[in-house]
Subunit: 691 residues, 2 copies
Amino acid sequence: MESSSYWTAFLVFAGANLALLLFASSITAFIAPAAGGSGIPEVKAYLNGVDAPNIFSLRTLAVKVIGNIAAVSSSLHVGKAGPMVHTGACIAAIFGQGGSRKYGLTWRWLRYFKNDRDRRDLVTIGAGAGVTAAFRAPVGGVLFALESLSSWWRSALIWRSFFTTAVAAVVLRLFIDLCGTGRCGLFGQGGLIMYDVRSTAFVDGDLIMTYHLKDIPTVVLIGVIGALLGALYNFLMANVLRLYTAVNERGAGHKLLLAAAVSLLTSCCLFGLPWFAPCRPCPTAGMKNAGLASTTSSNGTCHSLNRFRRFHCPAGNYNDLASLFLNINDDAIRNLYSTGTNDVYHPGSMLAFFLASYFLGVLSYGVVAPSGLFVPIILTGATYGRLVAMLLGDHSGLDHGLVAILGSASFLGGTLRMTVSVCVIILELTNNLLLLPLVMLVLLISKTLADSFNSSIYDLILKLKGLPHLDGHAEPYMRQLTVGDVVAGPLRSFGGVEKVAHVVHVLRTTGHHAFPVVDEPPFAQSPVLYGLVLRAHLLVLLKKKEFFMATPVRCAKESIAGRFEAQDFDKRGSGKQDAVEDVEISAEEMEMYVDLHPFTNTSPYTVVETMSLAKALVLFREVGLRHLLVVPKACDRSPVVGILTRHDFMPEHILGLHPVLLGGRWKRLRWQKGAVTKYFRSLIVWIASSG
Amino acid sequence: MESSSYWTAFLVFAGANLALLLFASSITAFIAPAAGGSGIPEVKAYLNGVDAPNIFSLRTLAVKVIGNIAAVSSSLHVGKAGPMVHTGACIAAIFGQGGSRKYGLTWRWLRYFKNDRDRRDLVTIGAGAGVTAAFRAPVGGVLFALESLSSWWRSALIWRSFFTTAVAAVVLRLFIDLCGTGRCGLFGQGGLIMYDVRSTAFVDGDLIMTYHLKDIPTVVLIGVIGALLGALYNFLMANVLRLYTAVNERGAGHKLLLAAAVSLLTSCCLFGLPWFAPCRPCPTAGMKNAGLASTTSSNGTCHSLNRFRRFHCPAGNYNDLASLFLNINDDAIRNLYSTGTNDVYHPGSMLAFFLASYFLGVLSYGVVAPSGLFVPIILTGATYGRLVAMLLGDHSGLDHGLVAILGSASFLGGTLRMTVSVCVIILELTNNLLLLPLVMLVLLISKTLADSFNSSIYDLILKLKGLPHLDGHAEPYMRQLTVGDVVAGPLRSFGGVEKVAHVVHVLRTTGHHAFPVVDEPPFAQSPVLYGLVLRAHLLVLLKKKEFFMATPVRCAKESIAGRFEAQDFDKRGSGKQDAVEDVEISAEEMEMYVDLHPFTNTSPYTVVETMSLAKALVLFREVGLRHLLVVPKACDRSPVVGILTRHDFMPEHILGLHPVLLGGRWKRLRWQKGAVTKYFRSLIVWIASSG
């Protein structure tokens, strides 16, 4: 740039961006497609009980880390926080499945974690550690994992997450200590607090970061704008992602083409738009509200790699739009948050940057590469916060940096709908406790208002990907249905002592993961439900064939005990599930019998078929079940009527069976709207009756 | 004191203390006994589903506020945080029960909260607001309510608590603004951050609040000491409370005598012990490590109402033990936390203050008056923190104020076993983010170590009071039992159409709150379970007598619908439960029949009698039930075998029925100890096998 060969500069810039992004896209598309996107929706679904394949494999981990580094370096408008969450969850999941035998990274003590609940807890903790690493916010990490990701809470999980994030914070601090003396190059430059906005900075004798009662309307305005912009962002993002999915489905070539197109668009915006901003002289210390303008050196230049950019301006001048576009995201946010810098940026540039940031954010996330949402949203929010402060001018007494922080918070509340975790993360990012009440207020206004339009981004992406995430609250129409109304047949069950051929046939022809075991005469007087047996355990049985018997009798417990260990029935790691195709049974063995009694769960959870569907959902979700047996009310039929799984509770299934519920009062309402109306109506009634 | 008439001073001091404490004790003992103590165990039990009487009435609220003010003013070594939590919960509960009709404070829109779950949520939120008000810590308030009090979590509850604490923080800030100019006297003196320990204070050019890797051993030592002292504190407290309960049971006179004795002991300690401390000259600005010693005025005196006390010393000198004892708790804590004041206090005084604070804390809590635990524990912890720092001397490079903060955190972790909430509360109290990793580390060490000795104070008090708090995890012996093993008879059930006399008889002779409704012929072909009916609803039925019928037939739904509204069946406020003694039935009405079908819950949760007790407990606790119906496995018996309530899951009941479980492997282990041993054993096995 300094030699004024601008086209060369542009080609170098755009070329490097394109190369990096194509690298990230290709490794994602060809090696580990599960590593694309931010990963947070997949982790959220996993913690709800949905076992999506391959999201936690070693390949995904490697591609996620390398791909994200490449994608962020390519100036794409994406962040790193989401991929770090997925990375942390990956590492935890790999521990939970006992390491990776394929690569020789396994330890015996890890086998204690080979069950559903411990693996889920480990993933929650790992995700929290990821947030801690991204924002250097230990308490924020715990709260994020518990508020946005986890479906079930308990006290023990909280202090375990806490321990993990504390260790992560201490290790971070250690690295900062080690690298603090400049030995690590650019690596150690940041402090423990990323955007340190000290609340005791003074300018002209006035405390900058102060606020008063008359500032509340400004805060409310920021919250409302954040809600509207956030809801619109979610809406646009959902539609863009739908479009991108249609494009990406056509093949890897289309994925790379899309990535290339977005990269070129980004490069053009980043390089092209600053040409429209006028050059201005560097801010001097004498200028009012130029804040930390002592960065202007003695010969009048203020250029640095992280604040003011010269771009095409003559020496001693700076281009404010280039200073926003061409700095890395973290530095741009720091600059926007800096206090006492009210006159450094100009409204026109801020507006241009805001629009570019907003729409580039919507367009960039769906590219097939590991990408995050957080930091672009924080940046966009800070931008419109400053813009609003500039437009309000003297009507608001708040410092522009402060309003930028509030803008970030409100935009985060409007898009991601997080409250406590964002508050604590912002507190830990800016080290400013006095701001806390304002940040809380702005978050709540934006979240409440935005919730009346649509769901958070992660929920929209979950629906787009078709992951069957089960919410905790029952929809209104569920109260009108009983369990018997949604149970779909036919029911496949096994006898207590079953022929091997029948077992293999059922396993091959259906995809169910659990089967009821019914004891028929002569093992019981009348058909009675004995329990529930899992497909995984049946496959273990079929692989060890020593127990097959020629005649259908119940075997003694002792004869079984010596042949199996508890580890044989451990939950397998992801990607290592047993498949029925791997089981080889000879024709002679097919005619033999296997006793299922010792391997059956004799205490399955059951509901009567007349139970309200809403109550059954509460039971299913709160206890965390995968299968729920339905028993008949009267005793004269088969002892088990059906099995419910999470798919039976999904709206698509229920409304598909009973389309009459779609119309009228039983339509799936956004419950907040109904509740708000109800409260307003009763409030009006009260006013009328007491007046 | 200045006129050296020391006995008069002592008499005035002790007399005022005695009068205030006797006032607090008498209003508690005579007006509202439920207001004694801190109230947090009662709130915790309520949030677990235990409906203890009178803990949330208006009388309790008034006595709690006034009594706590009096108790704290009487120099008793108690705090105000616990009572504030109870106060907040009271206010919320009063809203939840629809205001108080007795005092005319009721609004119609409150009727939407008249159900179990909303009332419980309101109480959780109110408790969080109480913590916020006590510590000016909004995020800490949310986390405290969710970590220590609440038994069930959901995302909606978190952001609702968050909203409440945000509003509380904004109102606080408003008051501070208003009172900041001194218009409110002493009321507005504090800032939003109570113990502002800024991390950028410098002395002699060195940053005070810094720490390095070599400080980790000191931190670990603080944590271990905190755990040991905390576990001992809990043990002593439990035994002292047991003794006090035995004394208090003898009558109100004994309660007042005990209160008087403790008050006199406290006055003697507070007034008498400073006599043993030597007088020292006021710290001057020239003294090293005297910190904010610019409080020493020009004529050499440093006395003030909140820092240095002169006591009996000549002018220009101060008595450091008096400075600790005779300041209010908040000021004492602030002084102990102040940085750069390493030489202001002396080890002997610190030790004396620590011992007095420790044992007075144990002895004072059980007095019949509203008292809190938090602030005394923080103070005691700060004291031994400083003591350890003094004893370590130059081996530790940490500032003594910093170690005092860590001491408080470790003692809180050792006694109350809270982690995330304490961390955030301390962060909000001291506004020092850089300390966060150290505080987290110290909390976790102390909590983990102390958990291997005994439970937290609140759990010990819960057991002492006999409140049936139900934990989430199943004890080991429960896996050996089925539901049928613990169901206690006889079972009282009603027919679908029942004679009024029978209903009244059963309600009068039993204390059960729910009864199964069984349809016999001719209403059904064979006896079948129809549902579950609640005592409260039966009493509503009995009070409205229009529906009684002369012959046992099922009435049509329409004839019922017009006579009842939903509000008739609302959950009553505490203390306003309907009682069967209030129901007046004439002999003629006794012979009539009532149709229970429209008022029965037709979807009760049921378990089969062969279900494992551990699984039934999980269902009971996770779904949040009060009654769980037990149905038989075979169909040829009565359609319902029994009902389980929380008392059936209590260890006393189960082990009382099956004393054989007490011995051997099924003894109720402290699970952590077993898990730790198990992990160590497997670790040793791994080391041995891999070595």
